[in-house]
């Protein structure tokens, strides 16, 4: 069970079923204010479903989700509550190409969020904040007023980050946010995310299948396999000395210089009976 002092996000006994299929079972974790947590897993592990429940896109079948001390297991009642939740948890998605409205210039997209969360601000106040946010994610003024189609994938992902930050959320969920980027761009965005956390003290929840990215960005980790958490702990401990079989296998599957393919093969042959290859569709 999670034992974290001052948790900004706390999930207890989360369960989600789709028809007869159990997607998520008994998932509990907590993140301290300003901390960072990675939810690691492969496709079908349930990590994305957990993220969707935390952001309110899916309703949990059972279990509770609390952010900033307030329950968000049930759908929000009314606009005020929705907006309040928006100031608690924000999300940045994987695909930089579809995560922005193609008709909306960058500054207007950010302004729309500011108008929603800061109704008392004047237009010049909001404009000033837009410039600040655009600069914060490393875009220049010209890019700040461009349409998404004029931007590259990495630049669009910066816009998506700026838009999420506009609500000044406590928790930022990064749902495979750097997975679709080319390696050299990925490094830029990773560095940006690290800087932003240092500067803003924001909490990250990273959903990822990429252990190296997890190591780069988070302090704690939970490993999910087939809907349940199989291992949890400090990121470096879990990655350097994995305890659970699945985590070990995951760790051994990451290609590194000096990767011993023969050993990988042996390990896989050994574990194969444990995990029968069943059709997933």
């Amino acid at each position: 069970m999670p034992d974290v002092s001052d948790p900004v996000l706390e999930v207890v006994g989360l369960r989600k079923t789709f028809g007869d299929v159990v997607a998520v079972e008994e998932v509990s974790f907590a993140v301290r204010r300003g901390g960072s947590l990675a939810i690691v897993g492969e496709s079908g592990s349930g990590k994305t479903t957990v993220a969707k429940m935390v952001t309110g896109q899916e309703r949990p079948t059972a279990g509770t989700i609390r952010a900033c001390g307030r329950d968000r297991s049930a759908p929000a009642r009314g606009g005020a509550e929705r907006r309040l939740r928006g100031r608690e948890v924000q999300i940045v998605f994987q695909d930089p190409y579809s995560s922005l409205d193609p008709r909306q210039p960058v500054d207007r997209a950010i302004d729309e969020v500011l108008r929603l969360h800061r109704p008392d601000w004047s237009a010049p106040q909001r404009a000033e904040r837009v410039v600040e946010l655009v600069g914060m994610v490393g875009l220049d003024d010209r890019q700040g007023s461009a349409l998404p189609r004029a931007l590259s994938g990495g630049q669009r992902q910066r816009v998506a980050i700026a838009r999420a930050l506009a609500a000044e959320p406590e928790v930022l969920i990064l749902d495979e946010s750097v997975a679709a980027l080319d390696v050299s761009i990925q490094a830029q965005v990773l560095n940006l995310l690290i800087d932003l956390r240092e500067r803003l003290g924001i909490t990250y929840v990273l959903i990822s299948h990429d252990l190296a990215v997890v190591r780069q960005l988070t302090e704690t980790v939970v490993v999910m396999h087939r809907g349940t958490i199989v291992e949890r702990g400090r990121t470096e401990d879990v990655l350097d000395a994995p305890q659970h079989d699945y985590t070990r296998r995951l760790r051994a599957s990451v290609p590194t210089p000096g990767w011993d393919l023969a050993a990988v093969r042996r390990a896989l042959h050994e574990t194969r009976p444990v995990r029968p290859l069943t059709p997933s569709c």
Partner: protein, 334 residues
Amino acid sequence: MNHPESAPLLEVDRLGLDLLVGGVHRSVLRDVSFSVAQGEAVGLVGESGSGKSMTVRAIDRLLPAGARQRGSIRFDGKDVVSLSGAALRSYRAEVAVVFQDPRVHINPVRRVGDFMTEVLRTNRSVRRRDAGARAVEMLAKVGIPDGERRLDQYPHELSGGLLQRVMIASTLLTAPRLLLADEPTTALDVTTQAEIMGLLDELRSDLGLSILFITHDLDLAAAVCDRTAVMYAGEIVEVRESRLLHDDPLHPYTAALGAARPLLDRTARLVAVPGRPLSALEAPTDGCAFAGRCPYVEPTCTSAAPVLVPADGGAARCVRVEALRGTLGGVPHA
């Protein structure tokens, strides 16, 4: 397996390619040269738009209409570009392609068995039942024990990893000599990727297969390939022994790729190259394509297109290769 040291199995020499984009021919590959020896695994690494997939298409003669090709591609001494008809078909049987996404690269409305045995039945006149038996045998070899059942299934009833094994097994049925693996694991999970890579490695050692392995992942290429060529904007910028490429890169772009990738065993600030990767279509013709992002750029870099300079048993396309030697690798993370 005996490896004749003489002529390489596949030899790509100064390959150039223009594609018809919006009615105009535009260059996507320039001066691409590399070779794959019998039993050797060679990696072709690059970011999106670098031209690595087009190189595979050129080798397998799968270019879109209107493509213009320069240079030569030789397989086992024969000129590939001039092949046609039955000769082209038998060449394609010897050079098998494993595509990135088996889900779209296998006909969805035909059974797995039809897909696997099609080549044997049509080109080799093997009877359906014999072909089926061989397919089952091959499925067992790639780690699918219940082959008979699988042959009756449709592709959508199999998982991605299983389907990729089917794809590999089907290529092996014609006993190819060269496998063109075009990002065969990009669409798969990490553990499935490891299984597939282990399988490919096993096939290479057991059958003496040559492999040209296309990927965007430098670490993956380095882990399984003897030699690796790095592509940027339609050109090969460096080709080396994989181990050297990683520890002691000669080209600034190779070094940048290595330094940009986060590590599994330690946390350190990444060295990010500014800007975005140039696509092959945007590359300048009169200078180094990487010059705009290169921390070591000099005026000479943009005055003329650099050529591949032989160095340390490989080659690098950089005018400053001698000056930078030994300074790019070492500690990739500052």
